[in-house]
């Protein structure tokens, strides 16, 4: 039976129960003790998110300073359980308005109990869509629309709304100003060898949307992806426009997207939920534009000195700039003294992570600042083992730049009342795991 959970616990880092909900009787009430004894208080913690203790399996996940633990006794569906936790946390966040941590849970525990009752019944996930749950959840002043209404009128059937053609959207929304915000957020993962060759590089992107639209609008999104464009030119029997096209390795969509239409016509068409949601995710491995090149030279001069030279080159357009650039250059544990020269930004030695941290707040395109540092090491007698060089890691954000080259070609909004909409599109590229071996 593919049950997702028999019980769910929220624990703080000390192992105190913040919230618990037993859905089925097949796990004992003391299971959380087993988790504490066999996982939290041992080295096991963090070695594997799925563990078997007794007849029960524990799935756990740490989110800020909270452990969320799911206990099952049957052969459960793991992927489903983890997805459920992630979605539930997103849901809680949308209710608390922001952070999900121990304090937020303590302050909102009645609400969480209420939510836990609705989103899962007897171990089967039910409805996690915030829109629909608003109808049931009574806390924080959101009163049930049922309670005040006389019942001789046929009540709108909440569950039917969930499961009908547009379950994720309520009818009758009205906005004065109809706006759509579209964010394309990409994170670049890079692994570069010390010789400068790219070992592995890919981009995972998300299209995030915030909709403030009245009624039941139909949206259509056009991107410059290769398949979509080819299909379009086929349909319109017009030669494809030249220009950069992107080959998406794989795409996943929010449940609102009509997948049948995507498969036949390769267009992304949908009736959006109200508010903020993640429209699609994609993955690209070919033709990635790396925003930065890093050229490190690290020389170990004898046993007590090191010379570090790092050149970082921004390869995006000169008019653009990157924000919050942080370059972490690892140095050995026994570093005693460091001195720097940087052409831009600031650098310091952070002993707790054994890194030289070089920060550049604003990093224009087509520039190449350098850092040169001298590192003095404490000479240790026992330490004859050579230092294993961890990779240089980089963080950054580049607005208005996509590493994949993806562009929004159009976003069409169609609603029967025919109102005008304002569309906003933003692009941003962030560093995922951007590693350069040295």
């Amino acid at each position: 039976m593919p049950v997702a959970a028999s019980a769910i616990y929220f624990l703080n880092l000390r192992g105190d129960v913040l919230i618990n909900r037993l859905y089925r009787d097949d796990v004992g009430g003391n299971m959380v003790d087993a988790f504490r004894v066999h996982i939290m208080q041992t080295k096991e913690l963090g070695t594997c998110p799925v563990r078997q203790i007794g007849g029960c399996s524990f799935f756990y996940m740490r989110i800020s300073n909270v452990y969320i633990v799911i206990v099952v006794s049957s052969n459960a569906n793991v992927a489903c359980a983890f997805k459920f936790v992630v979605e539930a946390v997103a849901l809680f966040k949308s209710y608390f308005g922001g952070a999900f941590d121990e304090d937020a849970i303590r302050n909102n525990f009645v609400l969480i109990y209420e939510l836990l009752d609705e989103i899962m019944d007897f171990g089967y996930p039910q409805n996690l869509s915030p829109e629909i749950l608003k109808l049931y959840i009574t806390q924080e002043g959101v009163r049930s629309p049922f309670s005040s209404k006389p019942t001789d009128k046929p009540v709108p059937n909440a569950t039917l709304q969930v499961t009908g053609a547009v379950g994720w959207r309520r009818e009758g929304l009205v906005y004065k100003k109809n706006e759509v915000f579209l964010d394309i957020v990409e994170s670049v993962n890079l692994l570069m060898s010390s010789k400068g060759s790219v070992l592995r590089c890919d981009v995972t992107g998300k299209v995030l949307m915030k909709c403030f639209l009245s009624g039941m609008p139909d949206l259509k999104l056009g991107l410059n992806d290769k398949i979509g464009l080819e299909k379009e030119s086929q349909l319109k029997s017009r030669p494809a426009k030249s220009g950069k096209t992107i080959e998406l390795d794989d795409v996943t969509f929010h449940q609102c997207v009509n997948l049948t239409r995507f498969n036949s016509e390769k267009t992304v068409s949908f009736v959006p939920p109200d508010g903020e949601f993640e429209l699609m995710k994609y993955r690209i491995t070919e033709g990635v534009n790396l925003p930065f090149r890093v050229l490190p030279t690290i020389k170990e001069l004898g046993r007590t000195r090191m010379e570090v030279n790092v050149k970082v080159k921004s390869v995006f357009g000169a008019k653009m700039f990157a924000l919050g650039v942080v370059i972490k250059i690892p140095v050995p544990k026994q570093t005693a003294k460091t001195s720097f020269q940087v052409t831009s930004g600031r650098a310091k030695y952070n002993a707790s992570i054994d890194c030289l941290v070089w920060k550049i707040r604003k990093f224009p395109g087509q520039t190449e600042p350098t850092l040169s540092a001298e590192v003095e090491l404490i000479s240790t007698i026992a330490e004859k083992k050579s230092w294993t060089r961890p990779p240089i890691q980089m963080e950054f954000q580049v607005p208005m730049f996509t590493a994949s080259g993806l562009r929004v070609r159009f976003l069409k909004v169609w609603e029967k009342s025919g109102y005008n909409t304002v569309e906003w599109v933003r692009y941003i590229t962030k560093a995922g795991s951007y590693e350069i071996r040295c």
């Binding site: 039976m1 593919p2 129960v17 618990n20 004992g28 003391n30 299971m31 087993a34 066999h38 070695t47 594997c48 998110p49 203790i53 007794g54 007849g55 399996s57 756990y60 006794s73 052969n75 569906n77 793991v78 992927a79 997805k83 459920f84 009645v110 109990y113 209420e114 009752d117 019944d121 007897f122 039910q126 409805n127 996690l128 049931y136 009574t138 806390q139 049930s144 049922f146 309670s147 009540v155 059937n157 499961t163 993962n189 692994l191 070992l199 592995r200 995972t204 794989d250 969509f253 997948l259 049948t260 995507f262 498969n263 995710k281 993955r283 050579s386 294993t388 961890p390 795991s433 590693e435």
Partner: protein
């Protein structure tokens, strides 16, 4: 704390009757307080009646909090729960569908068996309610009732009502919940009722399956998972239908929910199992979605998906060999993700990508994270063992030895040893490097054992082999690993055959130390060698150091049958644990005493033991794969032909070497028929030992008490305290397995042999029993855990005994009793 609770109690009393404005708000605050006490584990059941009194309100917020409270305490206070029935039943008829639903849900979660009669009515009307919300609650409520009292549920004809609802309701969530409930009820009921099992079959009939498939997009993502899971059990009659289903569901592979993607993949793979070509295409098709799922989401989610990807990669490594770069590890990934990736990198390595993969693995080997470094080295070794062109890899491995890090050296030594067993032609290069390693730097038993094995095996090539061995033998007393001591014995023997003059001293010392060893195996082996040498040196050489063939394939650790079972359970925990579900969900595996009241504690207690055992098992299988030691040559697959050339017993007699050896040890080959008495008088190896003639190993007839007494608690306690003294697997006759259907007869049969059963359980194919027996005239007890698998006709025994010396004898008695079952 007590004070605060009573404080709350009196405040609740005051508010109960009050109708003043603002009462509800103060009640809310109070209720919240009660719930917060409840959450932190303070017992607030004493305010039960006051809470119930206060909940006579129309305020839904208050009602909800009250329901939560009641649901938590009713189970342990059945009398108090009766108090709530009244108002819950009233609420089930409220005009607000929300309240009806909530009340019904609370009613079903009271879980008090003697209150089920009050449940039937509200549930019945709930299923017919005009609000979808109430029906949704009721349809899950039915299965809750079933778990409290199956007969009430079936007698009220709820399953049939659910079935009707499932096939006709407008609301998709109601339909989905009906399906969940019915699947559970019919699966459980199928064991006892034929009707239920045919109903369960009917769920998989074409009309029902198509009914769900055609509506699949109406359901939310969670329900879709379960529906896809159900469809994967459906067997379409022809291939057109298979293609129709796949075309219909192909877009599910694009879904953002990884669980749906996995469920779809499972369905596709199951559908095409018999269509080899299409099955291959399915693999191609699912590659991209799977890789996407891996790269998205939290590490835990990736782990869940990766485990499945891992399974597929292991089944069809060829198909994933071009995607190897996806399995490169990020520096910051958690170890559990990296480990899976390493295993996949190992599996997909082939002629075209080995160079890149091994280069990448070498980077990890320099990693500061020690477990990661170890795994990477093992991965390199495994690749070397599965490749034909190992030239470059051997160089890499040898470079590891030069890194001079203890854990790297240790891991590499083990690998070099395995490599030499497969590719003896590399011995020259390897030995040159291995010879430079100081044995002082190696602490780990496995590595030490590997080094010692090489010292023995290549004694003629390593200049100082006898002397290194000598220094190791000198530290015999400090050596705590029996494995190392065993290897030391064997290696010194091998060394002795090749370089007798230099090794003679060491041999003497090692045999003396071995015979005096407290470890049974070490002692026995030493004695065995000693007697062999006494008997005939060349025969001894034929036994201890026969010429061997290179190993061509190391045995697989998991049977293909088990692998297939795991594959059948795709998209579940089995894949993550890499074992079929019965091994971790069946009741008998969950701790032996289902009837024990302290079940919870017990299962934990037993678990710590079981985890220990399982980790040993893992280690053992690991050992089998990688650490095959010289004594385990029988692991070599039989297609190599016999690995040993049969020792020719007298053929060697007149060779010069054996002459020299005989002289050196001043050995007069005693006749085999010599009584042990004389040989001990001669003191052949001048060991200064007196070996007492061991008593003839005639099994002492063990008499068992026909009517032993033991209560379950004592059994439990003893089981926890005692060590396993015998653990083995035996076969049972098919007749015996057939007769297992009647468990009682087995228990009577065992009783006839003075072996009593204290607990039994399980379902086909796995049965688990706990037996005990007592020695007659003594109080010493034997405890047995016996797991019988009726498919494989195997029984696994674990015997624990007060008096370990007689446990072997008891084991024999037990086995003969068990194997005679069904034959009489």
């Amino acid at each position: 704390m007590k004070g605060e609770v009573s404080d709350v109690k009196s405040q609740l009393r005051q508010l109960a009757g009050s109708r003043a404005p603002g009462t509800d708000d103060s009640k809310r605050d109070l209720f919240k307080k009660v719930l917060s006490y409840m959450t932190v584990g303070i017992d607030v059941s004493s305010v039960f009646s006051d809470m119930v009194m206060c909940s006579a309100t129309s305020d839904i917020v208050l009602k909800k909090m009250c329901y939560l409270y009641v649901g938590n305490y009713a189970k342990y206070n059945p009398d108090l729960a009766l108090l709530t029935i009244n108002f819950l039943q009233r609420d089930c008829k409220d005009e607000d569908p929300m309240i009806r639903g909530l009340a019904l849900r609370s009613l079903c979660t009271l879980r008090v068996p003697n209150l089920v009669e009050y449940l039937v009515g509200p549930l019945g009307s709930g299923l017919k309610d005009k609000s979808g919300y109430v029906r949704m609650v009721a349809s899950i409520g039915v299965v809750k009732l079933y778990h409290i009292s199956a007969s009430t549920c079936v007698d009220a004809d709820f399953p049939a009502m659910l079935k009707h609802l499932m096939l006709h309701d407008q609301d998709a969530q109601v339909v989905a919940n009906c399906l969940f409930s019915l699947q559970e009820i019919w699966t459980l009921e199928a064991n006892t009722s034929e009707e239920a099992s045919s109903e369960r079959e009917a769920l998989l009939s074409k009309p029902v399956i198509y009914y769900f498939l055609n509506r699949i997009k109406d359901f939310n993502e969670w329900a879709q998972c379960i529906i896809l899971e159900m469809v994967s059990k459906y067997v379409p009659p022809d291939s057109n239908e298979i293609f129709d289903i796949m075309n219909l569901l192909e877009d599910r592979l694009q879904h953002a929910n990884g669980a749906i993607v996995l469920a779809t993949i499972k369905l596709f793979l199951q559908l095409t199992l018999d269509m080899t070509d299409v099955h291959q295409q399915v693999y191609e098709r699912i590659k991209a979605p799977l890789l996407t799922q891996v790269s998205l989401g939290s590490p835990e989610q990736s782990f869940a998906v990766l485990s499945h990807l891992h399974l597929l990669v292991m089944r069809a490594p060829m198909l994933f060999s071009t995607a190897y770069k996806h399995f490169y590890c990020h520096y910051n990934e958690p170890f559990y993700v990296k480990k899976l990736k390493l295993e996949m990198l190992t599996a997909v390595a082939n002629e075209s990508n080995t160079y890149e993969i091994v280069t990448e693995l070498c980077e990890y080997a320099a990693n500061v994270d020690i477990p990661m470094a170890r795994e990477s080295i093992r991965a390199v070794g495994k690749i070397a063992l599965q490749q034909y062109d190992v030239n470059a890899i051997v160089d890499r491995l040898l470079q590891f030895l030069e890194m001079e890090k203890d854990h790297v050296t240790a891991e590499t030594l083990v690998l070099v040893k395995d490599l030499l067993r497969k590719y003896p032609q590399w011995s020259h290069d390897c030995i040159a490097v291995v010879g430079n390693i100081s044995s002082k730097n190696i602490q780990e038993p496995k590595a030490k054992a590997a080094l010692i094995w090489m010292l023995g095996e290549y004694a003629q090539d390593m200049q100082d082999a006898p002397y290194v061995l000598e220094s190791l033998v000198e530290k015999w007393e400090d050596e705590c690993s029996a494995e190392v001591r065993l290897h030391l014995l064997t290696s010194v023997m091998k060394c002795f055959f090749r370089r007798p003059p230099e090794t003679q001293q060491v041999l003497r010392a090692v045999l003396a130390a071995g015979i005096a060893d407290f470890h049974q195996d070490v002692h026995d082996r030493a004695l065995f060698y000693y007697r062999l040498l006494q008997h005939n040196v060349s025969v001894a050489e034929g036994v201890v150091n026969p010429p061997k063939q290179a190993v061509s394939v190391f045995a697989d650790t998991q049977s293909s049958e088990i692998k297939d079972r795991i594959f059948d359970e795709f998209n579940s925990l089995s894949v993550v644990y890499k074992k079929p579900s019965y091994m971790f969900t069946d009741k008998e595996y969950r701790g032996p005493f289902a009837f024990s009241e302290e079940f919870g504690n017990m299962s934990i207690g037993v678990e710590s033991e079981e985890t220990a055992a399982s980790s040993q098992r893992v280690e053992a299988s690991d050992k089998e794969l990688l650490l095959n030691t010289s004594e385990k040559e029988d692991k070599v697959l039989s297609n190599n032909g016999p690995a040993y050339s049969a020792p020719a017993y007298d053929g060697y007699l007149d060779t010069a070497a054996s002459q020299v050896q005989s002289d050196l040890v001043s050995l007069e080959p005693p006749l085999p028929s010599h009584p042990p008495k004389t040989s001990s008088g001669i003191d052949l190896l001048s060991l200064g030992l007196s070996i007492k003639p061991t008593p003839a190993p005639t099994a002492p007839t063990l008499k068992l008490n026909a009517k032993p007494v033991l209560d379950p608690n004592t059994f439990q306690q003893k089981w926890r305290q005692l060590q396993v003294s015998v653990s083995q697997e035996i076969s049972i006759s098919p007749q015996g397995v057939a007769a297992l259907a009647n468990l009682q007869s087995l228990l009577r049969h065992m009783q006839g042999h003075s072996i009593q059963c204290i607990a039994s359980g399980g379902q086909s194919p796995n049965y688990k029993f706990f037996f005990f027996a007592q020695k007659s005239e003594e109080s010493s007890l034997f405890l047995v855990e016996c797991i019988i698998n009726s498919l494989t006709c195997k029984a696994q025994l674990k015997i624990k005994a007060d008096d370990e010396s007689s446990s072997q004898a008891f084991s024999t008695v037990f086995q003969s009793a068990l194997s005679s079952y069904g034959t009489s």
